[in-house]
Symmetry: C2
Subunit: 302 residues, 2 copies
């Protein structure tokens, strides 16, 4: 039976996931909680981590833990300084987190930064490395849709440039905290309304601000269904992202890495623009990237 | 001494204001509370109104009350149906609210609607009428900046067309409920940053979505001051509004009606686009509009 070799950790703003990896590379166990870094002070990270996986640790010396995500932000456990692009997504040098429990050797992966235009990522560099592990020859653009969507130009194994769009964050704020909250209360979806809104936002981006309140007005005057309003809001925001991200997808080889539903929406929006994007499986990408970081760190003398 | 003739009421989503008007037209008293319609069920409006002004009412028969704002929405006291543009901002016919207290004769001003593009207003029609009372010959465009900014084309005393932009609502949602909340925590202001952002959004509206996250990234990487971030966010959103509202201001005679600070920002943004807008005093405009509604209703046989 395989013995615990190291622990892979994805610690974001609102969630914490850990996988125990055996000496043969197999996943022995996994744990998850909603103890995201957003709610923790510096001294609370180690207890939170031990709460989740303490019962999984043996007594025979420290186990290597490799973590990615916001845990390495300035407000996280310890700051893992950004590395500037152009560079490979991962580096052999990781940032050790201060621990009191002798069973832990906790190391954090650095995020990436770009000075002009100013941009940052934390966690996505590990997903990019995971994608590269599966697609070692890939040259082109990786789109990682989500709360803060990233468009990443990758060439010869390096991240050349990237741009962040806070599309999911905007959708949640508008759907939850503006007058449109009355208009989009549903989980239903209209692909037709979504596609029309993407097309409208991409082809007439200067009209975007005029489109939003019409979702409310059409609800009051013409009984616009909530599914149409919600799909149009999503289409307008994704369309605005695509209009601004044009240099990233025009004539490029695009791969989408993300959750299934949102990835399909981006693929459908790009398809309408004549871009045939490949959807890569987002499920195990982060874990593969953490494994790549583990290999890289093992090969390094540090 | 002047005797109470009627009561003017401005009842919005989050506030309630009332003015007692004497037989000579003078304001005898005023009352205000934060009992907005947003927090009230249908049966709670009359008690809320009596709480505020009950002690001002005499015993000698009903007093006429004329109200504008969201109190006339479907979720308000009683629905005062929209009137379709093109039409004058006010109509002699008002909608009576059901009352139990014999001292009240409460009437609500209708909002305006437009079918294509779908749009609605409630309350602004009264401000427009107030502006017209001060500027009876005005032909051109009235801009009413705020939570839901309105651009209104007025000609020959009628509202011809209008468009709503939820700019203030968006600003509050983004500044309060997205990752940018960390970047814009200040009340300070940078006119330079605001002006540059307006120019950027008006001249390159297709880049808007790319600009937002840069406020966060520049804060992390280049210590962008919060005042610059806040002013740029405001400039980007007002710029997006101006880009979409171009048909309303291009070559038009523009008057701005609103609170002092936000009106000055719109005037400065328009000035950079070569539009010399007049700022009209927003303070007493609503009251003047309510007085116009009172005169109109008195002249009518209803």
């Amino acid at each position: 039976m395989s013995v615990l070799d190291w622990i892979a950790v994805d610690w974001g703003t609102s969630s914490l996931r850990a996988w125990g990896i055996g000496t043969d590379g197999a996943v022995l166990w996994s744990e998850a909680s909603d103890t995201g870094m957003g709610g923790l002070g510096p001294s609370e990270f180690e207890p939170a981590f031990l709460d989740l996986v303490g019962h999984r640790l043996g007594e025979s010396g420290p186990v290597r833990v490799i973590a990615c995500g916001m845990v390495g932000a300035r407000q996280g456990w310890v700051e893992a300084r950004y590395r500037s692009v152009p560079c490979a997504p991962l580096d052999p040098v990781l940032t050790p987190a201060p621990t009191e429990d002798g069973r832990l050797d906790f190391r954090i992966i650095s995020g990436l930064s770009q000075s002009n235009p100013a941009d940052v990522m934390r966690g996505e560099e590990t997903q990019i490395a995971g994608f590269q592990a599966l697609n070692p020859k890939f040259d082109g653009v990786i789109c990682l849709p989500g709360t803060h969507s990233k468009w990443v130009h990758v060439s010869a194994g390096e991240v050349v440039s990237f741009q962040t769009f806070m599309t999911g964050d905007l959708f949640a704020a508008i759907a939850g905290h503006t007058v449109l909250r009355h208009s989009v209360r549903t989980e239903d979806w209209s692909e037709t309304a979504f596609a029309a809104a993407v097309d409208d936002a991409v082809s007439r981006p200067e009209k975007l601000a005029a489109r939003l309140f019409s979702l409310r007005a059409e609800g009051l005057l013409a009984d616009l269904p909530a599914a149409d309003a919600r799909s149009r809001l999503s289409g307008l925001l994704i369309g605005a992202e695509l209009a601004a991200a044009r240099p990233y997808w025009l004539g490029q080889n695009v791969a989408i890495v993300g959750a299934k539903g949102i990835s399909a929406r981006y693929a459908s929006a790009l398809s309408a623009l004549g871009v045939s994007a490949t959807i890569a499986d987002g499920g195990q990408i982060t874990l593969k990237g953490l494994a790549a970081a583990r290999s890289l760190a093992s090969e390094s003398p540090s």
